[in-house]
Amino acid sequence: MKNWFHSWRAAVRIARRDAWRFKGRSFLVLAMIALPILGVSAADVTLRSSDLSTAESLNRDLGRADARISDPSLAGEPLLQNPTGEQYAPVGDFENKPWPDGPADVKKTIPPGATVLEDTLGSGKLRTTHGLLHTEIRELKASDPMAQGIMRLLDGRFPEKGGEVAATTHFLETSGLRVGSKLTARGLDADYRIVGEYELPSSLGTDQVNALPGAFLAPLDKALKADDLPGTSPTTTRLVSLSGGFTWNMVQEANAKGVTVTSRAVQLNPPADSDVPLYQQDGWGTYEQSTASKTFEMAAMGTIVGLAMLEICLLAGPAFAVGARRSRRQLGLVGANGGDRSHIRAIVLSGGLVIGVASAVVGTVLGVALTFALRPVLEEYNGGRFGGMEIRPLELIGIAALAVLTGLLAAIVPAVTASRQTVLASLTGRRGVRRSSRVLPVLGLIAFALGAAIALYGSTMTDQFAIVAGGSALAELGVVALTPALVGLFGRIGRWMPLSPRLALRDAVRNRGRTAPAVAAVLAAVAGTVAVSTYEASSDAQSRAAYTPELPHGAVSVMLDEGGGRDVPAVRTAVQKNLPTEIRADVDRISVGKPSCSMYGGEDGCGRYEVVVPKANQCPLWMNNGGEDPSEKFSKAERRKLIKDWRCKEGDVYSSVNGGVLIGDAKLLAVLGIKDADAEKALADGRIVSFDKRNIDTNGKIGIRLITDVEAADAAFEKGEDPPGDVKTVAAHQVAGSPNAYGIAMILTPATAEATGLSTVPLGAYYSTGAMPSSAQKQKLDSELDKTGSDVSLHIEGGYVSENSIVLLALTVFAGLVTIGAAGIATGLAQADAEADLKTLAAVGAPARVRRTLSGFQCGVVAVMGVLLGSMAGVLPAIGLRLTQRRSEEDWYREALDEGLSAVDLPHVPIVIPWGTLAALLVAVPLGAAILAALVTRSHRVLGRRAAT
């Protein structure tokens, strides 16, 4: 043991000094290993730091209070909650009685002697320098000691008077306002002064202003309600301080009075699950990740880490081999002085150890330092402040150990190769062609066959992606192991080549030991890239085929369903002003109840409408009979038949308007590209133009039911009856043929609507454009629409836009870099060996440029072999995965047909080979690598110098 230690110490010393002597090579390998380690350790520290402890997150939620009492609006009914208060359920069975709704009497739930601080949250539209911004308004006396920790004051102070507010940094940045600015809210004739800037440590991206209780929300709410507009919808919770804290028993007492409690004491010392009555109820319980999904996650992580390490080893291995080859004489001397094979192995392995340890230290230290330095940026990106820098030494040591392991693994093959050399051969510099391992290709072939069989089984017999991916990975590893044998096959084409490429190819093939790892590194990187590219290109083609335009190409629609349409005119003008529009077709919608009601109702005093589809025109599969699923009555064959029935056809586009009913005129037809003189005439005559004949009854009319009593309508629907409501009928004109109306079911003019007794509100507009709007125009319009502070939905039909071109480009560049790097390393290795050959060449009169061209070809040969094998190895798993996907979509389609779910089209799952990426990898990258290698090689050998005696 001791002997072992001392001889390793000597080996490490030699390796350390060698690493220092060949700084360039060492730095290259160090960077290769340290970069991923840097990333992983930085990610670890960031993840751990952003993961708050219970105490930290409680401080941000409760400040210094002991608990927060919230009213879940269950009318004070007793309830059960989990220890955090996030889950709760009223006690008792509410299946046959209405769900409790209404406030609880919170005051009664506050224990005697407790200090209380109210915290109310609402929202409103505030005026900014750009327009309006929908902003949270929080009324909390933030300067109260109990609130300390909830908001972090960055500038100024918290409000002390009614007319003062503080604002979050994000709000100030978005709004363009500053501390000291005046702030007003839309609908309220009062000014507020911003006196301070703060942040919510766990939610940096929130636009929020803080005011004293009662100073902002109540007056704003009152003003908005007076204008018949939606209010601020405030909710109030209460922070409570109590000596001794809020125990689980006290929480349960409060639950009995219908409120939930977030208690610091309970969360820090949570009760056992058996003491939580909620968990004893059916369907409730603590959520725990299943072991199966954990195992799968671990396996996926392991595979990724393993493949990354393999790739790094394949790249770094040849660098160690160069080192071992260059210091062959030195290793020979060690042998002459009594070093046996294990010593030689130790020296080369120590090279890996030294670089590995250096990479581990550099990677983790830089990773941690970078996280420290970039902490504010990371916190912004993360959206929340870290609880504190949390460094877990054990995890970092684990990550660092990966670096050491990678270094050692990369040096194993060079070490074994170097130790097999006889001392005499090392000393005399004699080199022989080393026979490559005979076992490896056999193992590779077995792995390849097994992996391919698994992948084939996966893609033909199952629809399990994991099986295909796992099989492909195994096959991929097999191909890597087969590389030396495959490289040998390339040698056969050498005899027809001119001198330089022939020499390069022969040299590469004869020295498979150094060529194979470099080729394998290229192979692995290229295979991954080609696999992902093929899969992505195929998915992209599928998405392109499945894309359905929502409007004619180049047309624009804009809609705004809030505030009773009072902002719609401004929005219509903004679009017209900023985009190259031609025809503008204004559209309105039917409104039931108050004008401020939104399209689907729901608010007090709001109703809704529905298009009455005659019973004879309804699809039997979907007909509402108030009970079980109507499709159950039909057999699979009947369902398949019915789906093709005209009554059951579904459109490709769903209208964003209830029932697809739009109030508009002939201009809308023009924008939609429907040229039908009859339709125009029908509109003018006061008829409805219909695009869906199901809606028309036998008298040629369409009925629209106005529902004012929503609850009664819901009850009727449950029973399968017609809901109560006034039905307005209008004569209809069905447009001949079936032109694409992009989801619009019918159009009627404002005059017709008025004559029929339908009240309308402005909704938006459709536009045709003279030219496709430019990105600048779109941005300008977006910023102008933002100023309205409303939720405007704008659609510009630009056809299908591919999303993954950047990813594909990045992958191609990555594979290209790996190829050039690996080929470069292999070339360096070949050059180290080739001195004698080059001398001989020079002696027989070869021109000096042969050295250049030879190194260029050596580099090119490695790149070509790797890229060629990698492309083949990459396309196959991608095709396998696509076949699996096709199978699974076809299964799903058949099921859908059997169930009578919907008339979907036969799935189209194309397989597309990304020729652009392949061409770049197959031609451009090897060519680039070869030229680069030729350029950086000296034409003339620099004569070695010897110290004078």
Partner: protein
């Protein structure tokens, strides 16, 4: 000749002991019927043919001969870097043709030291570390190895080189350090293959003087050279041609090499 005054034997009254006078001592190295054949069939080359040689403690044997006569092969086989086709090589009672690779390496660490023509030292190690290398490989602690190395350097008057790296030393200094390494610890056999080949004559002389001193102190040495004036430092000179010993002479006769009479012997 001024140079002669450096020769230790010049000041000794007695003549160096001829081989037969060593019969009471055991030889450090014995070569018995040593043959080495490279290749087979048409490419068969007999590098050594039936060599017999004993080298005793305190004795320096020079091996001379033309290129391809088998000098270097003899040396590599004597040190266990190559194995003979037949015959025995006995180093300090161990027949190294019968031991395994591991034992052979251990033997090189403990018994046999090599000095080559040039690039003898590991560039990544200082002079002291180079000398301590065999000891450290053998499991000696770095500190103990350094103490021994410093002692060896001091003995040779080379202390100032201890912490220099090979590229900070002259060729002559490097060869002297290599000799020190060849004899560190219990090693008593030094095999020197043209140790002066890359040096100028004066430096070469001083390197050989050092080798002579170490042998006088009890080591056994074989010196391969093709320079007669360096062979003159030896106790015996063996002439090889085509792998066989064609002649040998004692040191007294070796002096005549300097006058070129050896060729006639």
């Amino acid at each position: 000749m001024a140079r002669k005054s450096h020769q230790p034997h010049q000041s000794q009254p007695s003549q160096p002991a001829p081989p037969q006078q060593h019969s009471s001592k055991r030889p450090v190295l014995q070569l018995q019927e040593l043959t080495r054949v490279h290749g087979s069939g048409a490419t068969e080359v007999h590098a050594l043919r039936g060599i017999n040689l004993d080298v005793f403690p305190g004795e320096l044997v020079a091996v001379m001969g033309p290129s391809g006569s088998g000098k270097s092969t003899l040396l590599t086989i004597a040190g266990g870097l190559d194995s003979p086709s037949s015959g025995r090589v006995i180093v300090e009672d161990t027949d190294i043709t019968t031991v395994d690779r591991k034992q052979l390496a251990a033997l090189r660490r403990r018994s046999i030291g090599y000095v080559f023509q040039d690039y003898n030292l590991i560039p990544a190690l200082t002079a002291a570390e180079n000398i301590a290398l065999p000891r450290e490989l053998d499991g000696t602690s770095a500190r103990k190895g350094r103490v021994e190395a410093l002692a060896a350097l001091r003995e040779m008057g080379l202390e100032e080189l201890a912490d220099r790296f090979p590229d900070e030393m002259s060729g002559g200094q490097q060869q002297r350090v290599a000799i020190a390494r060849a004899l560190v610890g219990d090693r008593r056999l030094v095999l020197a293959d043209e140790p002066t080949g890359a040096l100028d004559s004066e430096t070469g002389e001083s390197v050989l003087a050092l080798l002579r001193t170490r042998c006088d102190a009890g080591a056994a040495g074989i010196l391969v050279t093709h320079e007669p004036r360096f062979a003159a430092w030896a106790d015996r000179v063996i002439f090889l041609r085509d792998g066989a010993v064609v002649d040998q002479t004692l040191r007294s006769q070796a002096d005549s090499l300097l006058t070129g009479q050896a060729a006639e012997l």
